[in-house]
Structure formats: structure tokens, C-alpha cells
Point group: C3
């Protein structure tokens, strides 16, 4: 049995019926079968592509991207995913568009969707906004589809919201699974999601939350570590605890970085802004209080500077299991002496893990493609096998 | 006979020979067969797409878009149309390009057209400019094609100029036809193109002019209503009168909104700037007199504010035929209490017609695709039937 | 034998093995077979396209463009080339991306390349930067490919660097070859690369250097003409001399425009900034000395203004062979009385050669497509013949 046949067989056993014509927002809204199917379909699509077999399932059609925050990695991952399925990207650049002040989300969403099969959105800047906006878009296109206005119903892929970063967390999970040779091998492994110092301000909480919200499902010992004052959203901690309970793992929290790193198998170490401060910023923004935002920024930078010792140094890495924990980061990292005077990680640590970090990133396009694929096909294993049988070349080869 | 066969049969009867290798600018340059063919081909393409049959007629090729004004709806409509025919959008963003000061239109048009099959242009900001620019582009690519420089001749689609908005007007007409179950049922219907108050300034005249220039061809009683001082271009009124004469309908004008609304079957109600003011603005712009433009803006906003009673209110709608006229708008609308304190339309009126407004908008991508299609094929009905017979799936379906 | 068969036969004789999985930077890095193959493949692709035969060799895949300078012609040429081979453009707009301060080129290059088959870069603004950046990108994607991070290795096309403009120079060469009916007819022809006055500042040297670095390979008498102080890079002059020695032509330099024009067969006449000044600008830029840059700009404009007599006037053209030399320019030109008060060329000269100038430009998309094609196929002639045999229509034609 080939690797591809094995993957297809595993997908057959999973119930993905609720993903058909659905959307992908937070990972905790998906059950275990759905998460597993997303990773397996990602692996199957990658396997096909690596064998030069086309995965194009659309002859034409648009994929609309809406980026309300800068992005390189996720933008290219989304483009890649859509392109490999046959969809053409049409970016909604809100600065160039004629969106009326006060125009409803329903209207904009409908107007861009007459021939859209997919909508990808990044909206992670303001607490309480990004996720809410995405749900409005989904409600809009669903309603317009049901009302017969939209011939097809575009499915939404959450490219990072204010709470979760599902395409990142799932790419990360797939990377860990591939590192350990199977999801069953994650049981009992210790993974640390640690805050780290960065000279910048206002980094989203969604990566940290995504990690504790997802990794707790696989029997791992998940530790959240951060200085006092850098708490994440309590709702997500609640989810992490419940997950850990069900999966036979654990979820704990500490303000002691060293304790966290001790004997860890996996270190995920990055900066984020305190949830409370992000809430305050959202309120200030809502009130148009830009002076207040500037003041808050100064306060936060000062607060960050009190915790410069929170960095993934060589010394810290020595505390991990055999000094060899898997180091992870969503990139770009603030590397001490490279991209920042003092940053999240020592240059030598980063360099040693560079290839693994890039491999970690390489899972994202396929995860996004899988999310789209599962929203379009009731029987994904069947379609994957048909694509293999069709055997269209992605890249022409001499006959 | 299927709906598709019926449409194809109707297209066969129409003479579209002059559209082959032609361009689509103002609707009044097209004869009745050509207008009818555009709508029928749009319907046929939509029918194919709704049955998941690919309408791709290009294996590769570019569609160049030039937007000299903001746009969401038309931009996505153009992208959708080109994508469904197999062309990839390449936007000419004049701010990022290296267009020399004084570079001739002939040169730019040729340089972007070596592999362009279509050029779509929105240029609606200055009276006397947009239409003229498009004709220069057409002349340029025609000449370069005749001189053997361009292998293929890109055909131009006017995505709104300073005089007409043909893709809008034709989408609107198709909406009305579908509402009334056939073009023959428009005879004797009263349609009002009414000005409405908006707190913004300088909205193009081209929608209003497009409506009176097109709807007068179908035996309707077309009424243009606006406050004194909001006159449209006299040349277009002349066209409207002539059309009405030939079609057995009528064209009239009033400064009394209530009189206009009385017993109307269709209400098209939107703001525009007075033609004379737009001419003055163009002149000020030409002279680089930006202070003058600011002054003019203040004057016009003040003038607008004298006519806040020109709004499509519930009360006004009651005056229409059975209080149930079809309400139309090109969107986005200035909705009172939603997108403006006081605007073009009551929120309750807008809400009641929301689905119909969205359906109205849904015709535009297909109208644009039809314009392109007719510029590329001598025998459009034959090609449409061949596409149906070819039966390529647009979206893969399980076998 | 058809024209296509003839071209294919000629390609068969050329050794292109080192181009497979390679990159295209400066022309002088390529041997004669490689240059010849690039032009022949360009001709073959054009022949296929003109016979409506699809040259799509990718079913899906991305082509990443990075423009660090404005561009219209090259941007559209790159888009066209990628589109005709089946690749979708994904632009890396550095202003919208989340490239961290100090992020390594290796990281960015890898992150955008997971599904990229081609990367096209324009980076021509600073001496010592553009070429160096491109080589860093190449090293990065090669390493990431070898490390198993990138499934495929994107090949780089240099869309103008600080030293050479290879796609321009090769398009220009192909234009001359087609004008003279074969590369063998270039022997003994006199071609002048002349500086010309322009009221603008800081134009790249790369076109002038590209021309003397390439045209000296074909037995032509190549003359570089410029006022004192407008020297090009000595390394490139050295290459030009060596080329001329090998090819049986000559390379000479003069500060006398009239002497240069005398009996010339081909006149290439455009402005550039002195190499030394460009070096100074790079240093000022490196130091963030923007006042210094402003000062330098004023100096250079003043220096330029001393040489307003360096223009391709009717009088100057009379000095050329029979007064009928082929006039060339990469466009856009500064045309006296049209795009500048005083510029590089008389309007009447420009007008007389307009069609030829546009034809010159028309070679660029095919040259770029050929560069990509040769980086992807070991046996390009075989693939070209297979594409002809496959006979897929580019544009649907009635059956």
C-alpha cells in the first residue's frame, strides 16, 4: 500500500459530513475527526503535488482574500492553496474599494461573492472584532445563497482572527506529528507555550491561544508560561483545561520560565500583548482616542522591557529534555542581535532550528487547501483517489 | 426545449456581426439586436455556470483592468467575468507604473497589450475625459494591431465613463426584464430616474444618463426627476427623446418628485452632481486650481443640503403603483440612519428591497462576460452550444 | 519545413544543459549557445502563440514578482510570459508584507516559494545592491530546496538589476536580428550606445551596460558615446572589449556624439546617470543621508543640463548610414516637446520609428518566457514539438 493509499484509507474512516459547505474558524469548534481529516487531506494533497499530480478541482472560480493586517506568509500560503485547487485570487483591498461608510457587511460580502468559491480573511488587530466580522461574513453569504442571490456559497477560511490562528496552529500540529512519527506519539510529551520579550508592541494573542487550545487535545502536557500581567483570554484557558481532561493530558500555567522549560519536548516561544491591554486598545480605538493608544503603546513597551530575561536562550534550551527540545515559532521571529537588539530567541538557537522552522511553515499552504477541499467535497477520500487516477500532470514533463 | 436551447435560438436570430472584434462603450452606439444579444448571451453564460458547465474559452491570456476611480462591485464583476472565460486579470495600477509624463496613450496601451485579449476601464471622474480616454485606447490598440505589432486585438469594455455606465445600465435592464418576465412586458411601464439627496459630492452622472439613454428603447414611460440645477447632459436627453419616439414610449422631465413617483412601476433613485458643476470641476482640475475645487465642493454640498426632501421614503413609495414599485439602486446607497444621517433612501424601504437589489447587482458579471464573448466570436450561439456539448465541469464533482 | 520546424531544429543543436534548473542574471554569464537558445525558444513560443497553439506547461503554480522599482513594460511582460506558460502571478508587495526588520533574505525567499516555480525581480536602484540581492535569493531557494524544505526549486529571472537588464538587452538583440534577417548579418554593423540628455535624474546604467555587454558578441562595431563624466562601470567595459576581441568586432568609446553617429547602422540613445554618482547615492542612502541625496540630485540635474546638445535629433540622424540607422529605445523616452521640453529624441525621429520601437518591445514577453522555459526543460526542442503536436487551442475557435 502506498503512502497515499494509506492516507486515503484513514480519511475514509473520518466523519467530515459537517465540514461540507462549512467554514473553518476556531479549531475548538471542530471535533477530532474534523481536525484529523484536515491534516490527512493536507498530507494527501502534498503527496499528490510532490508526485507532480494536479490537484486542480476548479476549472475557474475566484478566491477572495481580505487582509486587514499585513501578511507575507499567510498571504502566500492562501494564494498557493487556492492556486493548487484552481481558484484565482482576487484581493479586496479595502483602501481601493468603494465601500460606503456604514455599508453593511452583508452587502459587501454578497457583492464580492457572485463567483467566489472561497473567502479568506485575516482580521486579528482588535479584540472582539476579527472573529465577529468573519461570522458576519459567513451569515451574509449563507443568507444570500439561501435567498438565491449567490449561485454557489463561498466557504470561509479564517486566516487569523483576534482569538485563534487556526491555519497556523494546525500547520504547527502537523509539523509536530511528522516530527514524532504519528499523532499517537504525542501522548505524554511536554509542550511549552512561552511568552518572550520583543521590542515591538501589540502582537496578537491568537497564536498562543491557538496552541493551548489545540495541543491539549492530544494527551500532551501543555504549559503556558508568561510573566504576570500577560494573561490570555480566560475562555481559551477553560477550553485548554477541558481538552486536557478529555485527552488524558494536562494543562498548567506558570510565571516561571525556567520551570516551564524543564524537560520540555517542544518549546513554542513568542511574544504577545496582554489580553487586558488589547481590550483597552480596542476601546480606545473605538473612541477614536489615538492619544490614548500612543500612551498605551508606551506603557506596554515599558512593561515588556521589564521582562527582557524572557528569551529562548541557549541556557534556557539546555533545561529542556536532553537539551534538545523541538523549537517552534510562527515566524518572523525577533532574533537577538539579528532582527532586534534583544529579542525572543538567541541567534544560535534560531540558526540550529532554521530548517525545522521552515518545514513547520511549509505545512500551512496544504492545511489551507485541505480546509477548502473539505468544504467542497462530501467524500474527500473518493475525490483524492479520483485525482490520483486522473493523473493530470501539474508540470509538463517530456513524453 | 431547455431554457438554454431557447436562449441560443434567440441569439441565432440576432445580428451581432459588428460586435465581433469590437468594443463596448455607450449603449446608444449599439443597435437593438446588439443590446438584446448582450443580455441573451449573459443569460446563456449564467445558465451554463449554474449547471456547472465551464465557459472557459481561453486557455491563457490577460485581461487588463485600469481603474481611475475606486471600485468594488465593478472590479469584482470584471474579475469574475474574465475568470469565467479563462483570462487572468493584470491590473494597471498607474501609481506603481512607470508611465512617463506625457507618454502617449498609444504607447501605454500598446505596451500593456502584447498578450491582452481584453481591456476594462473605469474613468468616470471628469467630464470630457473618461470616454475620450477610452476611445484613444481603442484607436491605439487597433492601430498597433493593424501595424502587426499586436498579434491579437484586445477589445475594450467600458466599466463606467463620464457619460454612460453601460455595464450597470445593461445589468439593470436585464433585472427589470427578468422581473417582468420578458422585454415585451416593459411596454407602457413607468420608470422614474430620480435624483436623491446625499451628503457626498461629485457622484457621476453616468448612471442616471445610462438609465434614461437605455430604458427609453423599450416603450417605457421614462421620467427624469431632479431639483432645478441638477440637469444632466442635453445630448443624452436628446438620445432619450429619440429613443422614446421610436419605441412608442415617452421621455419626460420634472422638478417635482411626487409627480414623478405617482403610479410608477420602477423607481431608480440616486444622487448625482449637476452636469454644469462637473464641467467646472474638470476645468478647475485642468488648471490645477485645487482651492477652486474645494470651494466648489462646499458650494455643491450646500446646494445638495437644500434638497434633503428628495429621498426615497416610505411615504414617497406609497405614491407608486399599488405602493409596490420595484426599487432600484446601483449600490452602495446612502441609507438614512445607516450609512448617512440623511440619505437617498429610508432604511425600511432599502431593507424590503434588499434581495432584489442584490439580484440586480448579480447580472453585472454576466453582462461583462457577454460583452467580451461577443467581441471574440462571430457566431456566439454556435460557440455556446459547443460549450454545452463539451460539458467540461467548472467545479469537480465526484464520479 | 515550416518556420517552427526550422527553429526547433536549430534549438536541438544548442547545448542548454546548464540552463536547466538555472537562473538568468547577466547575459555575460551565459555562453553563446545559451543566448542563442533563449532567442530561438522565444521565437518558437511566439510562433506557437501566433498559430493559436497553447504553450501552457503548468497546470498550476505561482510566479512571484518582486518590483523594487516602478515598472509597466517589464511588469506586463513578466505577467504575460508567466500566464502563457500557465503560472499565476503573486506579487510580493513589500509595503504590505510583514517582513521583519532584519529578517534574512533566506527566510523571506523560502516563505514565498513553497509553491513558486519562478521568481522575477526588478532591483535596479542602488549600485551593488540589486544583483547582490538576487544572488542571495537564489542561494536561499537552492539551499531550501536541497534541504528538502521546498519541493520544487523556483528559478530566478532578473527583470533588471543595478548592472544589467538582460530581458531588455535580449529583446533588443532579437529585434536587431529580425531586422537584419539573421544573427550572421550583424557582423560588421556599427551600433552606437549613446548617452542622451534627460531632465530627470538617476536613470539606471543597466540598459547601456546591457547593450555593450551583449552586442559585442556578434562581430558588430560597438561604440559607447557619452559626455565626459558619464562613465559606465569599468568591469562591463572590460567584458565588452573581451567580447569584441573574440567575436571579430570592436568596442570603442568616444565623448563625441557626432563621431559616434557617423555611418552607424543602429542608434541606441538614452540617458543614464554616471556610475560614480550612483555609487555616491548608494552610500548616502546607506547612511540615511537624505539631504545629501537631494543635494546630489541637484548637482546631477545641473550636470545633465550642460549636455542638452546630446539628443537624437534629425540632424544627428542624418549622419548615420544613409541617414537611416535603426533607432532604438527601451521606452518610455523623453521626447522633446512631448514628454519633456528638451529630451532624448526629436519628436519627428521618434514618430518615424514608432512602429519599430513597439516591435522592439514586443520581444520581451517571449524572451522572459524562454528564460523560464529553459530553466524547466532539459530538452526544450522536444517539448516545443510536443506542444505543437498536442495542439491545444489558446483561444477557443468555432468547431
Amino acid at each position: 500500500m502506498t503512502n497515499f493509499e494509506k492516507i486515503a484509507k484513514e480519511i475514509e474512516k473520518l466523519d467530515t459530513s459537517k465540514m461540507f459547505q462549512g467554514d473553518f474558524l476556531q479549531t475548538w469548534e471542530k471535533d477530532d475527526d474534523e481536525i484529523a481529516a484536515t491534516l490527512k487531506v493536507a498530507d494527501a494533497l502534498r503527496d499528490l503535488r510532490e508526485r507532480n499530480i494536479s490537484t486542480k478541482v476548479f476549472d475557474s472560480g475566484l478566491a477572495v482574500s481580505i487582509f486587514r493586517d499585513n501578511s507575507t506568509r499567510t498571504r502566500f500560503s492562501f494564494s498557493s492553496a487556492c492556486n493548487m485547487l484552481g481558484l484565482e485570487i482576487q484581493d479586496l483591498d479595502e483602501s481601493k474599494s468603494q465601500i460606503a461608510h456604514g455599508e453593511t457587511v452583508r452587502e459587501t460580502a454578497t457583492m464580492i461573492s457572485f463567483m467566489a468559491d472561497v473567502i479568506g480573511i485575516r482580521d486579528d488587530m482588535y479584540i472582539g472584532k476579527g472573529d465577529a466580522y468573519m461570522r458576519e461574513v459567513i451569515a451574509a453569504v449563507k443568507e444570500s445563497h439561501e435567498d438565491g442571490i449567490l449561485e454557489q456559497r463561498p466557504n470561509l477560511v479564517d486566516l487569523q482572527d483576534d482569538i485563534d490562528h487556526p491555519t497556523q496552529a494546525l500547520a504547527d500540529l502537523n509539523h509536530i506529528i511528522h516530527q514524532y512519527g504519528g499523532v499517537e506519539n504525542l501522548k505524554g510529551k511536554k509542550i511549552v507555550m512561552s511568552w518572550a520579550y520583543s521590542p515591538s508592541y501589540g502582537k496578537p494573542l491568537s497564536v498562543a491561544q491557538g496552541i493551548i487550545g489545540l495541543m491539549t487535545r492530544y494527551g500532551m502536557d501543555v504549559v503556558l508560561a508568561h510573566p504576570e500581567g500577560y494573561e490570555v483570554m480566560p475562555e481559551i484557558e477553560k477550553i485548554a483545561k477541558e481538552n486536557a481532561g478529555k485527552s488524558g493530558g494536562s494543562y498548567s500555567k506558570t510565571n516561571d520560565m525556567k520551570e516551564a522549560f524543564k524537560d520540555a519536548d517542544v518549546i513554542y516561544c513568542k511574544s504577545w500583548a496582554p489580553f487586558k491591554a488589547m481590550e483597552e486598545r480596542t476601546e480606545l480605538y473605538g473612541n477614536g482616542d489615538f492619544k490614548g493608544i500612543d500612551r498605551l503603546e508606551q506603557e506596554l513597551l515599558k512593561q515588556n522591557a521589564n521582562h527582557k530575561d524572557w528569551a529562548c536562550t541557549e541556557e534556557m534550551m539546555k533545561l529542556t529534555k536532553d537539551g534538545k527540545a523541538l523549537y517552534m515559532h510562527p515566524l518572523p521571529a525577533d532574533i537577538t542581535g539579528v532582527s532586534a537588539d534583544e529579542g525572543e530567541v538567541d541567534a544560535s538557537v534560531f540558526d540550529r532550528y532554521r530548517n525545522q522552522l521552515y518545514k513547520q511553515a511549509s505545512f500551512k499552504p496544504y492545511v489551507i487547501a485541505a480546509m477548502i477541499f473539505l468544504s467542497k467535497f462530501k467524500d474527500p477520500a473518493k475525490v483524492l483517489k479520483e485525482l490520483e487516477a486522473r493523473g493530470t500532470e501539474r508540470r509538463y514533463t517530456e513524453k
